[in-house]
């Protein structure tokens, strides 16, 4: 049996009578870029919310590297190694770019420093601040944002905000990165650039990627395997080429 980074078993949630997701079984291998696609309202973001602890699943479990994370809080799940970006960008708008990334580094044990140490400016505060700043710069360099590091996050152009969100998520040193429509609102050039970036971070940060995307070119270019959702259930789970020629999938997307 292959080593799975993420394994969900019969994962599901219902809001009252509405079954937003049910019986979702996804297994993602280490280093894979895995796609989660489906028409609007299929429950893709719901799955992300389940995997990050925003919702607690009503049925089923999910495991990260064999460790059961079902029912943990958002903070705890992030610390265990699942980081995400958001469909509608959620940066810390009134903070500079570099500080956004430094918030991502907050829980890294390398930069440990208690509030008391900071309040009274004990030596460890300076050491950890300096190290954090250096690390944040390194991460920004990879995303080609180093020049803009002192700008307010809300002043960045849209494409760069998306990149910054990914950079911030990576700063939490995740094992699994969830990207919620990373290419939404990007022009073809930016999308192509983003594809390279996603591959680069997979190799450089040694993460596994699970992404939601409507741009099928993006999905075809990046993912080997996809899960197609429709009305909260899994419609197909196979290689990208097979999935896109599956009549059920075509029907869900464009009708009969």
């Amino acid at each position: 049996m292959a080593e799975y980074v993420l394994e969900t078993k019969n994962l599901g949630i219902s809001f009252g009578g509405l079954k937003a997701a049910q019986n979702v079984n996804i297994s993602i291998e280490k280093g894979e870029i895995y796609g989660l696609i489906g028409p609007n309202g299929a429950g893709k973001t719901t799955i992300f919310n389940l995997l990050t602890g925003v919702y607690k699943p009503t049925t089923g479990t999910f495991m990260l590297n064999g460790e059961n994370l079902t029912g943990l809080s958002e903070q705890a799940i992030n610390r265990k190694g699942i980081a995400r970006t958001f469909q509608n960008i959620r940066l810390f708008n009134n903070m500079s770019v570099i500080r956004n990334v430094m918030v991502g580094l907050h829980n890294n044990p390398e930069f440990k420093c208690t509030a008391i140490e900071s309040m009274f400016r004990l030596p460890r505060h300076f050491a950890s601040e300096k190290a954090m700043r250096e690390r944040a710069k390194e991460i920004l360099r990879i995303f080609d944002l180093e020049e803009e590091r002192n700008n307010l996050a809300c002043n960045l152009p849209y494409g760069k905000q998306r990149k910054l969100e990914i950079a911030r998520a990576l700063a939490t040193s995740p094992k699994l990165l969830l990207l919620d429509e990373p290419a939404a609102g990007m022009n073809p050039n930016e999308t192509a650039e983003l594809m390279d970036t996603v591959r680069l971070i997979r190799d450089k940060f040694d993460v596994t990627v699970l992404l939601i995307e409507h741009d099928l070119k993006f999905v075809v270019g990046l993912c080997n395997r996809v899960t197609v959702l429709n009305f909260g259930t899994v419609l197909a789970q196979e290689s990208v080429a097979e999935a896109l020629s599956n009549p059920a999938v075509v029907e869900a997307y464009i009708g009969k």
Binding site: T45, N78, Q87, L91, V103, H106, N107, M119
Partner: protein, 383 residues
């Protein structure tokens, strides 16, 4: 603080200004050249600044509205005052008595902050504001209904009065300590976590920030310094009356923070100084039949300041005639509104306008609370 050669003097200018003012007035006072009314005014100012700085941590940086700040001050005033009254019998009005009472008052207020914060910080926005408001009123009436022997009851607690010549100096030293602690906290990873919660709580959680912990931390530190402000109050008055710590006073502190600009500590200090000065001056200038005008003039001045600071119609005027533009003109600083001054100084860049709307306008609040009831992640409705 010293990173290489470039000490960022701007980061420390507020300490310097307060220190210089204290030294000037302090030396005047000690040599006996300062009127006692001025001494009392300076005492009041130091208390107001303490309150404003500590509240600004919760309102400006954590982004939560607290209307019970005077409640924490009340706790500090009574507990610190009691300790002072007891100790003064054996030790006199010495600096040791004062320090001990400050420690006790601050600690008890901090404990209250934790006790109130634990349940209250699960609430958000308006609801938290109402709970803190209730807390302030409860504290007030508890002390009002104590027995005469314990806390003076309705007559108020008699407390020792510290030497007028020095008390305001001690007050400003406490202000500097408070400023240092809060500013250091904000300019650290913990401060970043706190401002991250203000900017986007959902994203902060997703980044692994322990939201409850940091809300509680901000709330507790803020309560602690409010308590210290209370102890100072008890030393500068002969009696501590709990009726002085009603929500009116909480609102007055909030006005200082809002006028100074949310999340702008230096602005808060300035506003606290001005409002205290204004209050005292109006009370001395408008006497007799004109006394009825005190509140009217006070309110008018506040309205003018708020309009001047926030009205869109005056935007171009503000941009042309402000301190930054003036400094730019005489080539002291580079002026680039898009760019933040340096890596760290972003802490004072906060959306004053938005925050003002949120606090002052009932209309916008209703809309946000309706939006919050929906799914926080999919409020834009697509998937």
């Amino acid at each position: 603080m010293i990173r290489g050669k470039n000490i960022k003097w701007k980061d420390f200018i507020n300490y310097a200004v307060i220190a210089v003012v204290t030294i000037i007035f302090g030396s005047l006072s000690v040599t006996g050249n300062l009127a006692s009314s001025t001494q009392f005014l300076l005492e009041k100012m130091s208390i107001a600044i303490l309150m404003a700085i500590s509240l600004s941590l919760v309102v400006g940086f954590l982004g939560e509205l607290s209307l019970g700040h005077a409640g924490f001050m009340c706790v500090g005033a009574y507990l610190g005052g009691k300790v002072a009254a007891v100790l003064a019998q054996s030790m006199g009005n010495s600096i040791v008595t004062l320090i001990l009472s400050v420690l006790v008052g601050g600690a008890v207020a901090a404990v209250c902050g934790v006790v109130i914060g634990l349940p209250a910080l699960r609430l958000k926005g308006d609801y938290l504001a109402i709970v803190t408001l209730a807390f302030g009123e409860i504290v007030k009436s508890i002390f009002q209904n104590t027995s005469f022997e314990s806390f003076g009851g309705t007559l108020g607690l008699s407390t020792p009065r510290y030497d007028k010549k020095v008390l305001f100096i001690i007050g400003f030293v406490l202000v500097i300590i408070c400023l240092a602690v809060i500013q250091n906290l904000i300019r650290s990873k913990h401060g970043r976590a706190i401002t991250a919660i203000r900017d986007n709580e959902i994203a902060a959680k997703a980044m692994g920030i322990n939201v409850t912990k940091y809300k509680l931390l901000a709330f507790t530190v803020s309560a602690c310094f409010a308590g210290i402000g209370g102890v100072l109050y008890s030393w500068s008055n002969y009696t501590v009356q709990s009726s002085n710590f009603g929500y009116n006073y909480s609102i007055e502190i909030l006005v200082m923070v809002v006028l100074g600009g949310m999340g702008n500590i230096n602005g808060g200090i300035l506003a606290a100084t001005l409002i205290t000065y204004l209050n005292t001056t109006l009370a001395t200038v408008l006497t007799g039949d004109l006394a009825v005008l005190q509140n009217l003039v006070y309110a008018l001045i506040l309205i003018v300041i708020v309009i001047y600071n926030n009205s869109p119609a005056l935007k171009s005027f503000r941009e042309r005639y402000n301190l930054k533009a003036l400094l730019h003109k005489i080539k002291l600083v580079k002026h680039d509104p898009m760019r933040v001054k340096d890596d760290e100084a972003v802490w004072d860049r906060v959306p004053t306008k938005i925050a003002m709307d949120e606090i002052l306008s009932v209309d916008t609040k209703v809309r946000t609370s309706v939006a919050e009831k929906g799914d926080p992640y999919e409020s834009e409705g697509e998937d």
